[in-house]
Subunit: 278 residues, 2 copies
């Protein structure tokens, strides 16, 4: 049997909910797989291979493009719960009855809603650079970071995931290099899908009385990981998640922004593996 | 050479600053040792052997009674910086020029002041269940927990370190059992020394403008570890430390209070070892 990596694993397709989902599956089989939910404007190719290959040493890793994203068909819903419904249909279509769910940024919001809608499907959650419904985004620089033009354009992701300092820039360049090694890539996210995602984020972040109450019903062991100064979804949201989830561990890394796992991939993989194996 | 453990290591003595310091030293030699600073009313025998023996697998562990505490002579200073001065004299008297410093609760405050007074002595810091100068203690239950009588008296430490729920109580009983296996013990902290410690804590927690500025000068890699609901030094103080120290990682454990490392000793040792070995 061939051992695939992030770079070599072929894209496969599965139908569910009338959507043709593109996905990739690799790593050590036989245990509970981990399903990865990516950030705003991200496809399967926006994961850091140092993270995915690291996790794949001890478990099966499943990357996918959700509805309307990348190589998948369908329409991107303008709500996080809608994205979660699609993700659940995808996971079940693979014949999986129990999965660990990792979500990054908007993907972390989707991961929470997967746990809300399909609690029996989820063994453990890892939430990276994200927040709860009704997140505190007062200090977010997300709007301006995504509205700026970059040369080359992919430097958007250095601005979005790393701090604007020397270490952040160096880590960002390395991350981009790792990310671009793979040649067979999903198409970038369309403007229409990005607009739907933006709408979904905005509506998820509306603050209402008791907006965090749903967290008390997410009983899965959860690992929350944040950068010290998340410029997109402020770090205080990770603390809020930890304080309101019944069984959550929080890890905050120093000198980092919205991409803590991309900045410290080996450490993140070690922490995530400790958590998932416990 | 005999391999000592927490339970079997003999107490030794060293003179410095006119104080006869009692200490115990065990574990794997040849690297940077870790010096452990204990909590309010604590002696060398208040460390959890599951933590100290776990750390000792990969490094030399040094437990000691600071001035006026347990089996050491001298007078307990009524200030945290005074305690740090004594601790530094003790460490240097052992001929150590570089150490990792772990501090728990008041010991975490001492650890910070050791880094302030002797930056070249300190390689890395681990701060457990503690806070900065000017800590936010509005929600602390410390006063009432320490003012209450317990039967048996050592159940004070279940109340002080664990949450008042089923898991917390069970973890607390196990911790006490581990802690009491050793028979050759330091005398308990005197009322006079406890009063000096209480004074030191109160004066350290006074809030003034810029009270957290000193944290910017502690450049050592620091691991901050907290329980989700620290009833003695509220968890928000760990977040404050992480946000104001230039190079700090924060880990918060679920369903735990002022003794996160006593509740999850294996996980704590794994996290601390990852941090110290990095």
């Amino acid at each position: 049997m061939t051992t695939y990596t992030h770079e070599t694993v072929p894209t496969q397709f599965v139908e569910a909910n009338g959507i043709r989902f593109a996905y990739r599956r690799f790593g050590k089989t036989g245990g509970v797989p981990i399903v990865m939910n990516i950030h705003f404007r991200g496809t399967m190719d926006h994961w850091d291979p140092a993270v995915t290959d690291g996790l794949a040493q001890q478990r099966e890793v499943i990357l996918f493009d959700n509805a309307g994203i990348g190589a998948s068909s369908g329409v991107t819903p303008a709500s996080i719960p809608g994205m979660a419904t699609d993700a659940i249909a995808f996971i079940k279509a693979l014949g999986i009855s129990k999965a660990d769910i990792l979500g990054y940024s908007i993907g972390g919001k989707v991961a929470q809603e997967i746990a809300v809608q399909a609690p029996d499907l989820v063994r453990k959650l890892i939430l990276v650079g994200t927040g709860p419904r009704g997140a505190d985004t007062a200090a977010s620089k997300g709007g301006e970071i995504f509205a700026t033009s970059y040369d080359p354009p992919e430097h958007l992701w250095i601005a979005a995931h790393f701090l604007p300092n020397e270490d952040g820039h160096a880590a960002g360049l390395k991350y981009l290099e790792r990310k671009h090694r793979r040649k067979d890539r999903s198409p970038e996210v369309s403007e229409a899908s990005a607009a739907a995602q933006w709408k979904a984020i905005a509506s998820s972040n509306v603050k209402t009385d008791g907006v965090w109450d749903y967290l008390a019903d997410i009983h899965q062991p959860t690992l929350v990981v944040d950068g010290s100064n998340d410029l997109i979804i402020p770090t205080v949201n990770g603390f809020t998640l930890q304080q309101h989830l019944p069984n959550a561990q929080l890890i905050v890394y120093p000198d980092s922004s919205h991409g803590p796992h991309n900045q410290y991939p080996e450490l993140f993989v070690a922490h995530a593996t400790l958590f998932l194996n416990a």
